[in-house]
C-alpha cells in the first residue's frame, strides 16, 4: 500500500495545481484544520460514549444501549439535542467574556491536536518545539475556564474557576517537569525526533526506573490538568452545582464538555508519544506498513484513556488542601530528584538501548 500520509503537503500540492502559491497554502491550512475539526468533534463524542459505557461496566450497569446499534448513536443524539437547545445566560454576566470563554477552551484543546504524529508523516504541524508548544497550549485552556467562571457572575462558577486556576497552575509544573525528564534522553523537543529516538526502544524502557516514575507523575498530574475525578473539585457536583459552567447551556456547555474529553485524549496522546513510542509498533512488527501506525497510536492512546477512566471510577475526590499537598510536597520534589537521576543515567550511558 502506498498511501501518501503527509497530509499537509499532499493537499498543498493538489491545491497548488489549481491556484497561486500564497492562496494555496492558506487554503491547505484551512482544509487540514477542517479535517481535524470534523475528525476530533466526532472522536470527542465517541470518547464521551466510551466513558459512559466504561463507567457503567465499572458500576455493574449496562450503560447507554438504546440509540442505534449498541447505543453507538447515543452521543450523536445528545449533541443534536444540545444544538437545538436554547442558549440561556444571566443578565448580570459580562456578555463578551461569557460568550468568549467556551471558544477559548475548545480552540486551545483543538490546537494541541495539530502536532501529534499519528503515524509517519501524518502530522499536521511538525514544529521544532513540539513538547514546549503542547505544554504552553494546554495551559491556555484554563484561561477560558477562569473567564467563564468570572463572567458568569455566579459564586459557584467563580469558586469553581478559581479552584481550576489553583489546580492547573500547580499541576502544570509536574506535567512539564515529567516531560522534561524524558527530553533529557531524547535531547529534542520535536515530536518527530522523539519518535525517531524511540526506534531503539520506547522511552519508558530506555529510561527504565526514572522513566516509570516520570510516567506515574505525568499520569497523576495529567489527570489533574484535565480537571477529571479524582481532581474534579472544579465542578464538584455536591458543592458547586456544575462549577465553572453552571451558567452555560446548549452548545456552549457542549464545548466545555467536549473540550474535557479532547483534553483527556491529548494527555493520553502526549503520554503515548513521549513514553510509549507514538506510532511505533511493538518490536517493529509492522514497520513496513507505516499507515498501520495510526492503529498503534490510537490503540496506545485509548489504553491510557481507559486508565484515566479507571482512576475516575475508582478514587474519591480530593480536598483542596490535599490536592495542593500532593502536588507541592510529593510530586514536585519527587520530580526534581527524578530529573536529576535521569540526567545522571544519561550522562553515564546507563539507558537501555536495543
Amino acid at each position: 500500500m502506498n498511501i501518501s500520509l503527509n497530509i499537509t503537503e499532499t493537499i498543498q500540492e493538489w491545491l497548488m495545481s489549481m491556484m497561486p502559491e500564497g492562496v494555496a497554502s492558506i487554503a491547505a491550512m484551512v482544509t487540514v484544520a477542517l479535517i481535524y475539526l470534523i475528525i476530533f468533534a466526532v472522536a470527542g463524542l465517541y470518547l464521551v460514549l466510551l466513558e459512559r459505557r466504561v463507567a457503567a461496566w465499572f458500576q455493574l450497569r449496562i450503560g447507554p444501549n438504546r440509540v442505534g446499534p449498541l447505543g453507538l448513536l447515543q452521543t450523536m443524539a445528545d449533541a443534536l439535542k444540545l444544538v437545538s437547545k436554547e442558549l440561556t445566560g444571566t443578565i448580570k454576566a459580562d456578555k463578551f467574556l461569557y460568550n468568549l470563554a467556551p471558544y477559548f477552551v475548545i480552540v486551545s484543546s483543538l490546537m494541541a491536536l495539530a502536532v501529534f504524529p499519528f503515524t509517519k508523516e501524518f502530522q499536521a504541524f511538525d514544529i521544532n518545539i513540539g513538547i514546549f508548544f503542547l505544554i504552553a497550549i494546554s495551559s491556555i485552556g484554563v484561561i477560558g475556564i477562569l473567564l467563564g467562571g468570572w463572567s458568569s457572575n455566579n459564586k459557584f462558577a467563580l469558586i469553581g474557576a478559581m479552584r481550576s486556576g489553583v489546580q492547573t497552575i500547580s499541576y502544570e509544573l509536574s506535567v512539564g517537569l515529567s516531560l522534561l525528564t524524558m527530553i533529557v534522553i531524547t535531547g529534542s523537543l520535536q515530536l518527530s525526533e522523539i519518535v525517531e529516538v524511540q526506534k531503539q526502544g520506547w522511552l519508558i524502557l530506555q529510561g527504565h526506573v526514572p522513566a516509570i516514575i516520570a510516567f506515574m507523575v505525568y499520569m497523576i498530574a495529567g489527570t489533574a490538568e484535565t480537571n477529571r475525578a479524582p481532581f474534579d473539585m472544579v465542578e464538584a457536583e455536591s458543592e458547586l452545582g456544575a462549577g465553572f459552567h453552571t451558567e452555560y447551556s446548549g452548545m456552549k456547555f457542549a464545548y466545555f464538555f467536549l473540550a474535557e474529553f479532547i483534553n483527556m485524549f491529548i494527555i493520553a496522546a502526549i503520554a503515548t508519544t513521549v513514553f510509549f513510542g507514538a506510532w511505533l509498533s511493538p518490536f517493529g512488527i509492522t514497520e513496513s506498513l507505516p499507515w498501520l501506525g495510526v492503529f498503534w497510536f490510537l490503540g496506545k492512546t485509548l489504553i491510557l484513556v481507559f486508565l484515566m477512566m479507571w482512576f475516575r471510577w475508582t478514587f474519591p475526590r480530593l480536598r483542596v488542601d490535599q490536592l495542593l499537598t500532593l502536588e507541592w510536597k510529593y510530586l514536585l520534589p519527587i520530580n526534581l530528584i527524578n530529573i536529576l537521576i535521569m540526567a545522571i543515567i544519561v550522562w553515564l550511558n546507563l539507558t537501555i538501548k536495543f
Partner: protein, 158 residues
C-alpha cells in the same frame, strides 16, 4: 521517614482500590445488577421492599382494615393523605362509630417515605409493587384508596 512510608502506603491503597474496580469491570459482562426497563416487563419479579405506591388491600367481601383513625394523615410529612370521615351507627353494637368515607392519596405528592404505613395501627395500607405510575394527566395521580361500597372489617378495632 513517614514521608516515604506515606508514599508507599498511598500507592498501595490506590492499587488495591483499582484492583477492586478492575475486578468489577471484568465481571460486569456476566451480569449487570440493573434491570433493562421495558424489555423484561413480563418476567420481572419485583422485590418485596420495593415502594411503588400506597394501596389499601380489600378482601373478597370488599372489606378493608382502615378504621379512619387518621394516624397516617398526621404522619405524612407533606400532606399526601387526606381522610374524609364520618360517623355512623355500628350495626353490631348500636354505638356511634367513626368510619372513612374516602381515603384520598396524592401519589404526585408522595415521597415514598413510608411513614404512613409505619403509623397505621391496623396495617390497613401497604406498599404496592407496581412501577409504571406515569400518566398524561396529573389528576389521575390523586387516588381514592378505599373502594366504593367497601366497609371496615368487623372486629379490627379490638
Amino acid at each position: 521517614m513517614s514521608y516515604f512510608s506515606d508514599i508507599y502506603k498511598g500507592i498501595k491503597t490506590l492499587l488495591t482500590g483499582m484492583s477492586v474496580t478492575g475486578k468489577y469491570f471484568l465481571t460486569s459482562r456476566k451480569g449487570a445488577i440493573t434491570q433493562q426497563y421495558p424489555d423484561n416487563r413480563d418476567t420481572l419479579k419485583m422485590f418485596e421492599r420495593f415502594r411503588g405506591e400506597v394501596v389499601m388491600p380489600h378482601d373478597e367481601n370488599n372489606e378493608h382494615q382502615c378504621t379512619g383513625c387518621q394516624k397516617c394523615e398526621l404522619a405524612c410529612p407533606n400532606g399526601s393523605i387526606e381522610i374524609i370521615w364520618d360517623r355512623g351507627i355500628d350495626e353490631a353494637t348500636g354505638k356511634k362509630k367513626k368510619f372513612i368515607d374516602r381515603h384520598i392519596y396524592h401519589l404526585g405528592l408522595c415521597t415514598m417515605c413510608g411513614l404512613c404505613i409505619e403509623a397505621c395501627p391496623t396495617d390497613a395500607i401497604v406498599w404496592a409493587q407496581n412501577y409504571e405510575n406515569s400518566t398524561y394527566d396529573r389528576t389521575q395521580l390523586t387516588k381514592v384508596l378505599n373502594r366504593p361500597g367497601s366497609k371496615v372489617k368487623a372486629g379490627i378495632e379490638d
